[in-house]
């Protein structure tokens, strides 16, 4: 069974036409992979559909803008994958 990271990396590769091998767990979606906010909406849509969740993008953006969180917490892919796992778990609870 694919890990959450593998599924996310596959989504990013397909959505943004980025070579799959260049997408690493430590990659930052914005800073390293240069994914812009519009492309990230397509990724969020695919993630929402794949995992049956709703990524709280508005909340994350607000936290970053308020200085309560860094973009690393949400957009480094291993962290994003952990966030997805938490949302999936919370949904099933």
């Amino acid at each position: 069974m694919s890990s959450t990271f593998d599924k996310v990396a596959d989504i990013i590769a397909e959505t943004c036409d980025i070579p799959r091998e260049s997408i690493k767990p430590e990659s930052h979606a914005i800073n390293d992979l240069e994914i812009d906010s519009l492309d990230f909406l397509d990724i969020a849509f695919a993630i929402d559909k794949t995992f049956g969740i709703k990524l709280p993008l508005e909340q994350w953006t607000q936290e970053v803008n308020d200085g309560k969180a860094t973009t690393d917490q949400y957009f480094v892919l291993k962290n994003l994958s952990e966030q997805i796992d938490r949302l999936v778990t919370a949904k099933g609870a």
Binding site: L38, F45, K49, K54, L57
Partner: protein, 156 residues
Amino acid sequence: MQLEYFQMIDRVVEIDVDARRIRAVCTVPQQSTIFEGHFPSYPLMPGVLLIECMAQTAGWLVSVLGGFVAMPFLVGVKDAKFRSPVFPGNALEFEGHVQHEGSGYAVGQCTGRHDGKVVCEAHVTYRIMPFPTPQFRQVLLERAEQIGIAVKEFAK
């Protein structure tokens, strides 16, 4: 339909909130300055305006589902197809479907028909953002009422 004012939808005839579906109708005007250029001696509804029809149809549904508390701005169009020409005087029906309501965005699909035949279709993505001004929201609500949306039922 007033093309110059981007008033593409004449009437919303059905909204099914549970099914996330909307149906809207409009009639392409016989006369418009748009047709003076598109095209001289052969007036034809521009494809970009059919996209606007589809975006507005599904966009109204996004607004309804969100209680008109924020504005869905069109940010993406995919797989747009124009299957048949649309001419002045044609009566059109658009059916929109909101496929996903994400956090701060929504994704929909819309199909346009004339005489039951599909003339256009597209997938549309919206970024949902606060209204730029209270007046903007008021104008939108008034327009919604004009085209038959029960604003009092849906607005939060």
